[in-house]
């Protein structure tokens, strides 16, 4: 009985962390789908969400909701600038060049934040208090409910956007075949910009809702970004349910691994799963196989 309670707790905590991975994975997938770029700076957008919110809250003394809005807007601007200055000049770059540029950008953003806001960890107050809630033998915090809620909203929002609006469908067209999309009049450049904007917004939102639980500092983005990418790969880099499931599964397996096997090797377990998926089923758990045209 005790073990069952424990496992329930592992699973529920894992799902909460997994939801964050899902959001980050989603933002990876959005950029990857429209540009083919693996944005190593994605984790930094997540970090910016938390850091900017704290800045707006503490220094500018804005109320919580306004602070969050300003932070998301600020990160979106950062994403825009990043796309314009670093991605746009490289028209036909090799994957290697893109990887290096995004790594360079992530170092740059981290350095700027470190200089402007210091290296200290900061805490964001929880949105609705800290009293634990009991659920089927496990405990959650109200912030976990916020995480689940926001994740569901974002997923529904993305689904609606990509499948029921013109811009969304245009972005999907770009991801299938940029040249064809161009021929039918879609401005590919603008779609790429839009994908960065959405991706930065989603990423920063993830950063904001997790900050009350995990606190934030200039370097929280690195690991979160990598785990988010694992989630995206597991889900097949799709902009929908696959990535979300990938994130949830990753978070749960990580939590179970830490509790039942070994806490020290927790991250190793996550990356080991990533390697297995890459070796055995690189198209992700939920997609059918792809063929490559020569």
């Amino acid at each position: 009985m005790e073990l069952l309670n424990q496992v329930t707790q592992f699973v529920i905590s894992g799902l909460a962390t997994g939801a964050i991975y899902a959001l980050i994975g989603l933002s990876f997938a959005i950029i990857f789908n429209s540009t083919g770029i693996l944005n190593f700076a994605q984790g930094e957008f997540v970090m910016l969400g938390g850091v900017l919110t704290i800045f707006c809250l503490n220094v500018l003394q804005l109320p919580l909701l306004a602070a969050i809005g300003a932070a998301v807007a600020g990160t979106t601007v950062a994403g825009l600038v990043f796309e314009r200055l670093a991605i746009r000049p490289l028209k036909n770059a090799t994957p290697l060049a893109l990887i290096i540029i995004t790594i360079g950008a992530s170092i740059l953003i981290r350095g700027l934040v470190m200089l402007l806001w210091g290296k200290d960890t900061q805490a964001l107050p929880a949105f609705s208090g800290n009293d634990p809630i009991s659920v089927v033998g496990a405990t959650l915090l109200p912030q976990h409910l916020w995480i689940f809620g926001v994740t569901i909203l974002v997923i529904v929002g993305c689904r609606l956007f990509f499948h029921h609006t013109i811009s969304g469908k245009a972005m999907r067209a770009c991801s299938f075949n940029p040249r064809a999309a161009n021929l039918v009049g879609i401005s590919v450049g603008r779609m790429i910009l839009l994908s960065f904007v959405i991706s930065a917004a989603v990423g920063s939102l993830a950063g904001v809702i997790i900050a009350p639980l995990t606190m934030t500092a200039y370097d929280v983005g690195v690991m979160l970004g990598l785990k988010g990418f694992c989630a995206a790969i597991m889900g097949g880099m799709g902009s929908g349910l696959g990535t979300v499931l990938g994130g949830l599964i990753l978070g749960t397996l990580e939590s179970l691994g830490a509790g039942l096997i070994s806490s020290g090797y927790k991250d190793a377990i996550a990356f080991f799963i990533l390697l297995l998926i890459l070796f055995l089923r690189p198209q992700g758990l939920f997609k059918k196989g792809e063929t490559e045209r020569v």
């Binding site: 990857f32 693996l38 670093a86 000049p89 490289l90 994957p95 290697l96 060049a97 990887i99 290096i100 540029i101 790594i103 360079g104 950008a105 992530s106 170092i107 740059l108 953003i109 981290r110 350095g111 700027l112 470190m114 200089l115 690195v222 990598l226 990418f229 790969i233 070994s262 020290g264 090797y265 991250d267 190793a268 990356f271 080991f272 990533l274 390697l275 890459l278 070796f279 690189p282 020569v294």
Partner: protein
């Protein structure tokens, strides 16, 4: 070919006399690490610059070489030279084994897989406390010695490390100009076309991966005997990124480019010291700017300049 040999001899001469004007300066110590980074950069360049396979986990092999040599010589009292060879062969075998599944991937997926290998290796160094000392590091590693000479001063270690580096450069130059090297470049250009021409691309990719791992392991062994203390923080993701930066800045696919990149990046903290805390920003900017505007790296500058010359003066096409 002749100019290649001449270039190499001149380079050997430069390496030989470089420490002399430095006297007792600490720069000799820095040049030792330039040497180790050069060896690492050469290994990665073969994989990345010539064969075009992205690897973000090179630090794993570097670390395995260092920890392998470190543990064998401290806990099991192996002879350091024997340990170096044994460890390099084991690391190469390991690379060969995981090379097959890993190198089936391409582009970003390959990058992530190698990153994963690197992270797992780093975690293993950290967690196997009883063997490696864990995060507190492994100390008391003996210096290398040959005949009666113990390599425990900066000058001696400099010649030791650069001796290895020169051998590696020679090997790389020969490899690059051989059938194997040409096949690698064919794979880089278009793997499918190379396969059609009869190149066993799959096996060759694994072979170059293994060679690169072997070279990195040797660099790791040298590193641990020079430092006499190692800790997991020196073998993390940021080390792999630094190595990548070195060969990109120096020039992908250029042997001397790797050396130049290693030199620049190892000395960079010295040059950036005037910027104090801003050096991390300069580092990031450097990466971005160089990748966008100088994709050929530093060795590509002469060729780029030639292209800028007015059309009348240029003699035929630029030979990059």
């Amino acid at each position: 070919m002749k100019s290649d040999k001449l270039k190499f001899l001149v380079f050997c001469l430069v390496v030989l006399v470089a420490p002399l004007p430095l006297g007792g300066s600490y720069l000799t110590n820095v040049l030792i690490f330039v040497g180790i980074n050069s060896i690492l950069a050469l290994g990665l360049n073969l994989l990345l610059g010539y064969a075009g396979q992205i690897s973000l986990g090179q630090a794993a092999f570097f670390g395995l070489g260092a920890y392998g040599s470190g543990v064998l010589t401290t806990v099991y009292s192996f002879n350091p030279w024997v340990a170096m060879v044994v460890v390099a062969l084991c690391v190469a075998a390991f690379a060969f084994a995981i090379g097959f599944p890993v190198l089936r991937l391409k582009g970003h997926y390959l990058a992530m897989a190698t990153l994963g290998v690197g992270v797992i290796a780093n975690i293993a160094f950290n967690e196997t406390v009883d063997l490696t000392g864990g995060p507190s590091g492994l100390s008391g590693i003996p210096n290398l010695s040959l005949g009666g000479v113990i390599f425990d001063t900066d000058l001696r270690n400099y010649y030791l490390v650069w001796g290895f580096a020169l051998v590696m450069i020679l090997l790389s130059l020969n490899l690059v100009n051989s059938r194997f090297g040409r096949a690698l470049r064919a794979i880089h250009d278009s793997e499918v076309a190379a396969r059609v021409m009869g190149v066993n691309a799959r096996l060759m990719k694994v072979q170059v991966f293994t060679l690169s791992a072997f070279i990195s392991a040797i660099a790791g062994s040298l590193y641990c005997h020079v430092m006499t203390f190692i800790s997991p923080t020196s073998f993390g993701f940021h080390t792999s990124v630094e190595l990548l930066t070195m060969i990109v800045i120096g020039g992908l696919g250029s042997v001397y480019g790797s050396i130049l990149g290693a030199l620049l990046l190892t000395m960079l903290p010295e040059l950036l010291r005037t910027f104090h805390d801003y050096d991390i920003i300069v580092y990031g900017l450097l990466l971005i700017v160089m990748t966008i505007y100088m994709p050929g790296g530093l060795v590509g500058i002469p060729a780029a300049l030639r292209r800028l010359l007015p059309a009348g003066k240029a003699k035929g096409g630029a030979n990059a």
